[in-house]
Symmetry: C2
DNA sequence: GTAAATTGCCTAAAAGGCTTAGGCAATTCC
DNA sequence: GGAATTGCCTAAGCCTTTTAGGCAATTTAC
């Protein structure tokens, strides 16, 4: 009998695609087996269990998102960097809703520490360097940006903005503009 | 055989408690039946299905949250109202994480329209009246506040802020302060 | 107060998901 | 080519959801 050529890597990638198609919480070992036209039990040679699969998808998504954000940031600073970062975030969530949802999958602390999650925080701090904020403002600002980006993207994904004018992209621009203004207002008076 | 005294209302309330204890997506018809020491099939006299149960919990949570927010808002205006509203939101999410998660359960449009969801938006607009914003700024601001509150609360719930100083409440105060400043900066110059 | 109608919880059963155990065939290694 | 390993399989157990049909407890109506 011909082999299907499964591997943890392929399964996780396929799981990510499946997530984008049907939603992250509809990702199931069974559905994945169907997609490879293979019996469910076969997947267990490559995955510990269902939780393991979801963790893998989460790590993949965090990785991809970090890469996009890093690309967006390259060669930019100040408001330019802020806007590029914000857009990278939102665009990823819109193009890959299932993967984006996966980035919210709760990771155990060891896994989280080894994930691309840290890079996200570091990139946010890199953006804020352009605004020259003293501590603890900088940390507060990291959290504010994280909250706004995640909050906006997740409300938009659940359709929260879709039935009223103005449209979501307009608000997004407005939000980024005013976050920039807010951050600039925090910069201590120069020497 | 003695009856257990089930009803849709009781089941939904118990489901909400269960959600707070074990997480909203661990809420299951089976678990609920166990809690009432009743056979699973018995619940189907009171609930259409599992989705129905979750919808019920979501509606209950939206209702409770709206009531708290309304209480918080009573007799306040301006920054005072903003802070009280923000705290009502965050406190509810911290005290009732499962119910809070339920407020994010996707409702079909008809159900959503009849839910307390609208009241939330109206209360946000009520707060913003104190800042006297022209359209479309007001709508953008409604969305900004929604994004920040939801984003912050959900990142805090997933432990995003727990392993670094300063602590989350400090950031929360900072965020509310600076949102207030941002909103004030938008007020058009008076006559 | 009792008979009839309704309601509430039950058993049974089907269908689908997760997971483990153990087996045989395909591949890889020497 | 033979031995060792790997990859997918069958089988089986357990859990959750949902429907169907039944009997007993309660409520309603006389």
């Amino acid at each position: 009998m011909a082999r299907a050529g499964l591997s943890a890597r392929r399964l996780i990638r396929a799981g990510a695609e499946l997530a984008d198609e049907v939603g992250f919480d509809q990702v199931t070992v069974s559905a994945l087996a169907r997609r490879f036209d293979v019996k469910v039990a076969s997947l267990y040679s490559h995955l510990k269990n269902s939780h393991d699969l979801k963790t893998g998808i989460a790590l993949l998504a965090l990785e991809e998102l970090a890469e996009r954000a890093a690309d967006a940031l390259a060669g930019r600073a100040g408001k330019d960097a802020l806007a590029a970062f914000a857009n990278a975030y939102r665009d990823y969530a819109r193009e890959h809703p299932g993967r984006y949802a996966a980035t919210r999958f709760p990771l155990d602390p060891r896994t989280a520490a080894a994930s691309a999650g840290r890079r996200h925080a570091q990139m946010t701090r890199a953006i804020l360097r352009g605004y020259d904020l003293p501590e603890p403002d900088q940390t507060h600002a990291v959290r504010l940006l994280g909250s706004v980006f995640h909050g906006f993207v997740s409300l938009e994904a659940s359709g929260g903005f879709s039935h009223s004018a103005p449209d979501a992209p307009e608000t997004w621009t407005w939000v980024v503009d005013h976050l920039d203004a807010l951050l600039r207002s925090l910069r201590p008076p120069g020497p």
